[in-house]
Symmetry: C2
Subunit: 430 residues, 2 copies
Amino acid sequence: MSNPAPLRLGIAGLGTVGVGVIRIVRKHAKLIEERTGRPVAITAVSARNRAKDRGVDLKPYDWEDDPVSLATRDDVDVYVELMGGSDGPAKASVEAAIAAGKHVVTANKALLAHHGQAIAEAAEEAGVVLRFEAAVAGGIPVIKALTEGLAGNEITRVMGVMNGTCNYILTRMYDAELPYDVVFDEADKLGFLEADPQLDVGGIDAGHKLSLLSSIAFGTQVDFDGVELEGIERIQIADIEQAADMGYRIKLLGVAQMTGRGLEQRMSPCLVPAASPLGQLEGGTNMVVIEGDSVGQIVMRGAGAGEGPTASAVMGDVMDIARGITISTFGKAATALVETRPAKATVPAAYYLRMSLMDKPGALAKVAQVLGDAGVSINRMRQYGHDEGTAPVIIVTHTCTRAAVDEALAGLGTTGVVEGDPVAIRIEEV
Amino acid sequence: MSNPAPLRLGIAGLGTVGVGVIRIVRKHAKLIEERTGRPVAITAVSARNRAKDRGVDLKPYDWEDDPVSLATRDDVDVYVELMGGSDGPAKASVEAAIAAGKHVVTANKALLAHHGQAIAEAAEEAGVVLRFEAAVAGGIPVIKALTEGLAGNEITRVMGVMNGTCNYILTRMYDAELPYDVVFDEADKLGFLEADPQLDVGGIDAGHKLSLLSSIAFGTQVDFDGVELEGIERIQIADIEQAADMGYRIKLLGVAQMTGRGLEQRMSPCLVPAASPLGQLEGGTNMVVIEGDSVGQIVMRGAGAGEGPTASAVMGDVMDIARGITISTFGKAATALVETRPAKATVPAAYYLRMSLMDKPGALAKVAQVLGDAGVSINRMRQYGHDEGTAPVIIVTHTCTRAAVDEALAGLGTTGVVEGDPVAIRIEEV
């Protein structure tokens, strides 16, 4: 092979990930060329603040203030979008890049969760590649596994702990026996939280990721609005301890599966067996579990964020393009992706219920009656501790539908013996 | 796109994996075409016994008694070799397929461990694709992760528990408190063992797999002869229990890393922390751990064998070819793979030593002296139980080289206070 032309990158966004990509391209120039058969070079970069010292020398690269200008340069083959944001410059520049016939590699889960279908169709129409390994679960090559390695499977379920901040908070609450608020503040001080913390603790960020996995797994159009979102704010340390006592851990778990009624996507706190890989996941690490009809269960674990891991994912996509690998964004032609209706928690499960029961005669009997009327049968029940005038009670149900649980929760409010809102947490069989 | 031509497979070997591939191709014809953009069809098959009932209808396919004839048919685009064996018909037919310009997908670890370099060079020369996802860790898409998803990393270490039979035996010894011989016989009766059990319990099968991972990870020519092999036959239930008591599990663990002295590849029983993903792996499940300079540690876990998982891996490769993905067998041009010398356990570690110490005055002092002379310092020591005239003693060393341990073991034989051969098991930091 005689001196193949380099693949030329334009990188927009020079936060930790952008800087990480620059570092890899420099440090591993030889390795990259050996593996892909051609050099990978950076032509130009763009970011908000040109003056900022990022610890890497940017002089070798042209500077563009406007990412759209960067994305459409004649000397850019691949536009690497690392700015983030579901709209604004990220969306405009990605669209401009595609229109200009550039391949796109992005780490932007929000952009694709909201506009993935339109952007993938545009890329397909333009005959360019749009890849996003870095958008889901950081360094774990899960998009590749799902799209390519496991392509021979009908996927039956995808699960994931994909927000390291939430997993850090829940793990820390358990380890240090600290309440949610205290650990939340800790995480904030450590810089673990997004500017809008709801992106993390409200499950939005992880929900974005789940919606992208769902699309590939089930051949459906990305449907972030169809993700039932529930954050971790209502999890108390008592829940974590009671769950642990029964052999469970609480995780902010994403679950997607196709049901007879449509695509079910949930991102919510769940109890998972302490001895399972998901239950054993601690701190900021991510895990994705893929279940296929032939392969059974595949578990992938790794760093979900950070300069190195996320840049590694970006480079995986870039090197695929350098190798000439052209694959549909969501694993099949964008125009063939099916529009499905969202199914709201139709898959039955056992539930963990916590409520504050008043010291009144027959209180427990009333609770049992309401649950029974809703079709929720009790597997085990325990009272722990005692507050003034009320006692916290934990009930683990037998398998039932979420609708039955919701009916029971509504009914509990009318008994006059339950103080405040009861909490229901799904127990996911993993 | 107007009716693209089907990708036509010729499948040699109709054991569980071959049958599994046929089942997937039939069951998921639509899904496969949607994902790859073209149909995948089976033209012809070959196996030793035509009359055998395999539970699938073979009438739609031409039959070839000779796999070489199958591999070179004009109406075959991809030769799928699922017969196994490092030489004989597997090798002859793969070579014939390549010479005839066919792509090759194989699950044959022995063939590639012994002849991978020559076969990869031939494939490259012929401009065809040779892929082997199914040869390593069953359904886990680890070859793809290492070759493509993590391609931007310098790989620093690869580890794996990749022989389900050994892991079953070790797990079962621990759970049921049964000695090795009894569990070995159980595994044999359950059909878990290869015709030559040394392939399993001697670490050969897992060693084949490790040598293939090493080649991709380090860009080196496959060097199975460079794998230091040690089987699990000498592991006693006491070792497993003592290890557990100290917070470890014993696994047949493969470890490959590049050192200043060459490529170190070991497949041997190791102590790993009980709380680590490797330590928590039970039964027949496989796990591969990949460590890269940017990505950190990626852990992949799944079924290491069986019809569905292995066929899933074969189909991943087939569908890559249907999608037009052409990638070098070992991740870079075969002619660019480096010939490295094997390094024998140069990476230091702590070791677990078990010996049978005679009831003689000063026995322990002599042992300590020998270890000290060899440069092996003792971290902790314990005596457990007592046999007639001897006492089993466990010593955990501080980090030292394998050479120092070997010197100590040789020295122990000359003390006159150690009965039989001491056992040394590496404690791998994972």
